[in-house]
C-alpha cells in the first residue's frame, strides 16, 4: 500500500539499524512519548533491532491510559442514566473504572454508542432531541480540534441536549513532568508526530533548551521511528540539543494554524490529573466560560467522585518511564487485557498491553 509499505520495508530497516550501530559509542536512553509509537516499536520489534546500548523508554502518551479513574467513573455514571446516549471512541469503552467499564454499563442497559468523531455525536444529538447526548472528549492535541469543532457546531445548531466530558491532555507539560521527576534517566525524546501535525513544534524548543535534551518529532511507521532514533542519537553523540523534525511529510514548524485557532477559541488550559502520574499543572483543556453549558460534568453533577487506584498497579512508574511492564508483579497474571488493573493494559497503545500481546511468552 502506497505511503505505508515503503515505511515498513525490511531492507531499509536493516540499513537504518546498521547506521545506528555504526553511530553509537556509548549507552543512551530515549523516550518515545506517544503510545502509538510504543505500539509500533513493540509490534514490529524495533527495539530488538537496536544495539544493546540504546534503551527505549515508553512515555505517557496514551490518552486512554492517562484518563483518570474518577473520570471513567463519572462517564460510567452518566452513561447509565436513563435518558442519556453516551458517545465514546472505541478504545475508551474497555478502560476499567473503579466499579465498571463502559462496556459493562452497556451490558447493563446503558445506551452507549461507539463513534469515530465527535461530529457523529452531534448528528446523534440532532436526531434525538428528547435525549441527552454526552460525548467523552478524550485525547491529546490531535483530537482536541475536532472536539472544539463539535462544540462550535452544537452552538451553531442550538443543541441544548449535547454536552461533553472533557479529558483532553497536552503533551509538552507531560514531557516536562517526566524531565523534572527525580532520577530522570532520559536523554532524548521522540515527540509525537500527529500531535505536532496540529501544534507544530515551537513549544518544544524551550523544553529542549531548558533541560538540555534533543527532541525529534517522529512518525509512527517502523522506518519513521528508526530514522527518529537515528536523528536523536546523532544529536546525542554530537552533544546537540535541538528540536528536529523527522516527520516532514506531515509536520511543519507552525503546525495547523486553523486547527490551533479553533481549539484555543473553545478551550482554555487547566491543571489535569493524569492516571498513574497525578496532577500536572497546565496540562489539559477545559471548556471556556462561554461554553460551560456543554460541560457534562456540570450538567449531570457527578463531579465529586474520588477513587484510589489499585495499589499493586505500577502504571504510574510505567507511564513515567521508570519501569517496564514486565517488572510489575501483576503483569500477565493478575493484570491481563481481559482483566486490566491499570489503563496501560487496556488500550492497544498502552505499554503493558503492547508487551502482553506481542512479547509475553505463553507456551504450552
Amino acid at each position: 500500500m502506497k505511503y505505508v509499505s515503503e515505511y515498513r520495508d525490511k531492507e531499509s530497516a536493516l540499513a537504518y539499524t546498521e547506521l545506528i550501530r555504526e553511530l553509537v559509542t556509548r549507552e543512551w536512553s530515549i523516550m518515545e512519548v506517544c503510545g502509538g509509537q510504543t505500539h509500533s516499536i513493540v509490534k514490529y520489534g524495533i527495539d530488538q533491532l537496536l544495539p544493546d546500548s540504546v534503551t527505549l523508554i515508553h512515555g505517557p502518551g496514551c490518552p486512554v491510559c492517562v484518563t483518570p479513574i474518577e473520570l471513567i467513573d463519572q462517564a460510567a455514571e452518566i452513561a447509565g442514566l436513563a435518558n442519556v446516549i453516551f458517545c465514546s471512541f472505541g478504545d475508551m469503552l474497555r478502560v476499567p473504572g473503579s466499579r465498571s467499564d463502559l462496556l459493562g454499563v452497556k451490558a447493563s442497559g446503558g445506551d452507549i454508542r461507539m463513534v469515530y468523531s465527535p461530529i457523529d455525536a452531534i448528528r446523534i444529538a440532532a436526531a434525538n432531541p428528547d435525549k441527552e447526548i454526552v460525548f467523552f472528549a478524550v485525547g491529546f492535541e490531535t483530537t482536541a480540534p475536532v472536539t472544539a469543532a463539535a462544540v462550535l457546531q452544537a452552538e451553531h445548531l442550538g443543541l441544548d441536549n449535547f454536552s461533553m466530558l472533557v479529558s483532553h491532555v497536552l503533551v509538552p507539560p507531560a514531557i516536562e513532568a517526566v524531565l523534572s521527576g527525580e532520577n530522570c534517566a532520559i536523554q532524548g525524546f521522540l515527540a509525537a508526530g500527529h500531535v505536532c501535525t496540529v501544534m507544530g513544534y515551537t513549544e518544544y524548543e524551550p523544553i529542549a533548551e531548558k533541560y538540555g535534551v534533543p527532541i525529534v518529532v517522529t512518525g509512527f511507521e517502523p522506518l519513521d521511528i528508526l530514522e527518529g532514533i537515528h536523528m536523536c542519537l546523532t544529536q546525542l553523540e554530537e552533544g546537540r540539543t535541538n528540536v528536529e523534525n523527522q516527520y516532514l511529510r506531515a509536520v511543519s514548524r507552525d503546525g495547523n494554524r486553523a486547527a490551533v485557532e479553533i481549539m484555543r477559541s473553545v478551550f482554555e488550559i487547566t491543571d489535569r490529573k493524569w492516571r498513574g502520574i497525578g496532577r500536572i499543572p497546565s496540562s489539559g483543556f477545559m471548556l471556556r466560560e462561554r461554553f460551560t453549558r456543554f460541560d457534562a460534568g456540570r450538567k449531570f453533577d457527578v463531579g465529586s467522585i474520588e477513587v484510589d487506584e489499585p495499589a499493586i498497579c505500577i502504571s504510574g512508574e510505567v507511564l513515567r518511564g521508570n519501569k517496564k511492564p514486565p517488572e510489575c508483579a501483576a503483569f500477565g497474571n493478575d493484570c491481563t487485557p481481559e482483566h486490566p488493573l491499570g489503563a496501560p493494559m487496556v488500550s492497544s497503545e498502552g505499554a503493558c498491553a503492547a508487551y502482553y500481546r506481542f512479547r509475553l511468552a505463553r507456551g504450552k
Binding site: 500500500m1 505505508v4 530497516a13 536493516l14 513493540v42 472505541g90 478524550v138 483530537t143 481481559e338
Partner: protein, 351 residues
C-alpha cells in the same frame, strides 16, 4: 437421566469477573473462547464436542457424518457482497466442508421481529435458496418464530447442517504435526471491513465487498486430488490470528507465519490503518486455511488458485516444534513477535 450432577455445577466464570454477557463474549477472541471452554464445554463435555472442530464428526453405522450449526445475527442484513440469507447457508456449508464433508442437508430456523418487511423476508429466503442450489444442499427442515417488536434485530437465522465424510478422509486438528505448512486461500479482512464501512457509514474510496463465498468446491478439490490434508479451518470472527491460535492451541506445536506473505487488499489495509485495526483479526466469510505436509503445499496452492475465490492462495507459514507461544509471526521488517488471540473485540483507536 440423572441431572443432579449438572444442577450442582457452579458457574465456572466467577460472577465477580463478568456478571453479565458483554459484546466481547461474542467477538471471536479470548473472552469468547473462555465462555465456550469454561461454560459451554464444561456443561456438555463429550469426546465429539471436546475435539472443537468446526463441526462434529459422528460415526453412524458404516459411514461418518459431519454435523455443524451456525447462527447469523448481522447488521445490515444486506451488505456489499452478500446478505444474511446467503451467509446463513454458506456459514454452515463451510463448517461442514472444513471437516472434509460433502454438505447435504440443512435446517433453517428463523426468529423474526414483529413488523419485519415481508418483501425483505422473501429476498432473504430467495438468497438462501440460491446459495443452497449453488452448494448442492437441501434445506429439509425448519422453524419460524416471531418475537415482539423491539425484542429482535429484524431477523436472526440459525442453520444446522449434515454432511457425509468420504471414506478414508480424516481432517482434524489432531493430525497437525511439525513440518506441515499453512496455506491461506486468499486475501484477508474483506468481510469485516465491508460490514464496518456500511454499519458505521465510513466512506472508502473503492467499495470493499465481503468475501462471502462457499468453500465446499475448493475443499472438495483438495481432497479429490488426494492431498493428505491434516486440518482445514474457515476464518470467521476473530480473523486469521484467532483461527490459527485456536488450531495451534489444540496441538503440541507452534505455528510461525510471515507477515509479508499474507495477502491483504490495499483498501482493507487502508481502512485498517484509519481505524487502528489489525487485518489479522478482521472477520472473513470466504477464506480458509489448510494445514498439510510441506510436500503437498505447492500443489494445494495450485489447486486453490484454479478457483475464483482462491486465486490469491499462498503458503503463509509452517508448523514447528512447540515454542514460547502458539502463534508467531515474522514481521514485515524481519523481527519476530507473538500473534496473540484477540482479547474481546477490536475497538477503533483514538489516534
Amino acid at each position: 437421566m440423572n441431572n443432579s450432577r449438572i444442577t450442582e455445577m457452579i458457574c465456572p466464570i466467577p460472577l465477580s469477573d463478568y456478571p453479565e454477557i458483554t459484546m466481547a463474549h461474542g467477538g471471536g477472541g479470548r473472552l469468547m473462547n473462555d465462555l465456550i471452554g469454561r461454560v459451554i464445554l464444561k456443561a456438555f463435555s463429550n469426546p465429539i464436542l471436546d475435539s472443537r472442530h468446526d463441526g462434529a464428526v459422528i460415526t453412524a453405522g458404516e459411514g461418518r457424518l459431519a454435523f455443524a450449526t451456525d447462527s447469523h445475527v448481522i447488521t445490515p442484513l444486506f451488505f456489499p457482497g452478500g446478505d444474511i440469507g446467503a451467509l446463513s447457508v454458506y456459514g454452515t456449508v463451510n463448517d461442514l466442508a472444513m471437516c472434509g464433508a460433502d454438505a447435504r442437508w440443512l435446517s433453517a430456523g428463523f426468529i423474526i421481529e414483529e413488523g419485519f418487511s415481508m418483501e425483505t423476508l422473501w429476498r432473504i429466503v430467495v438468497s438462501m435458496a440460491e446459495a443452497s442450489r449453488k452448494t448442492g444442499v437441501l434445506i429439509v427442515t425448519g422453524d419460524t418464530k416471531v418475537v415482539d417488536r423491539g425484542k429482535g434485530d429484524g431477523i436472526y437465522i440459525n442453520t444446522a447442517g449434515i454432511g457425509i465424510i468420504p471414506e478414508g478422509i480424516d481432517v482434524s486438528p489432531s493430525r497437525i504435526c511439525e513440518g506441515d505448512v499453512v496455506v491461506l486461500s486468499g486475501d484477508i479482512g474483506r468481510h469485516g471491513i465491508a460490514i464496518m464501512a456500511v454499519r458505521e457509514g465510513i466512506k472508502l474510496e473503492g467499495a470493499i465487498r465481503s468475501d462471502l463465498a462457499p468453500l465446499d468446491s475448493m475443499a472438495r478439490d483438495l481432497i479429490r486430488e488426494g492431498l493428505d490434508i491434516h486440518c482445514m479451518r474457515d476464518l470467521t470472527r476473530g480473523g486469521l490470528a484467532s483461527g490459527l491460535n485456536e488450531i495451534a492451541s489444540m496441538t503440541d506445536c507452534s505455528i510461525r507465519i510471515e507477515e509479508n506473505s499474507i495477502p491483504v487488499h490495499d483498501e482493507v489495509l487502508g481502512a485498517c490503518e484509519i481505524l487502528g485495526f489489525d487485518p489479522l483479526y478482521v472477520a472473513n466469510e470466504g477464506r480458509f486455511v489448510v494445514i498439510l505436509p510441506r510436500e503437498n503445499g505447492d500443489k494445494a496452492v495450485e489447486i486453490l488458485r484454479r478457483h475464483e475465490n482462491g486465486h490469491q492462495a499462498e503458503i503463509i507459514g509452517s508448523v514447528e516444534k512447540s515454542s514460547y507461544a502458539d502463534l508467531l509471526m515474522i514481521s514485515s521488517i524481519g523481527s519476530e513477535r507473538i500473534v496473540d488471540m484477540m482479547s474481546g473485540e477490536q475497538l477503533p483507536r483514538i489516534c
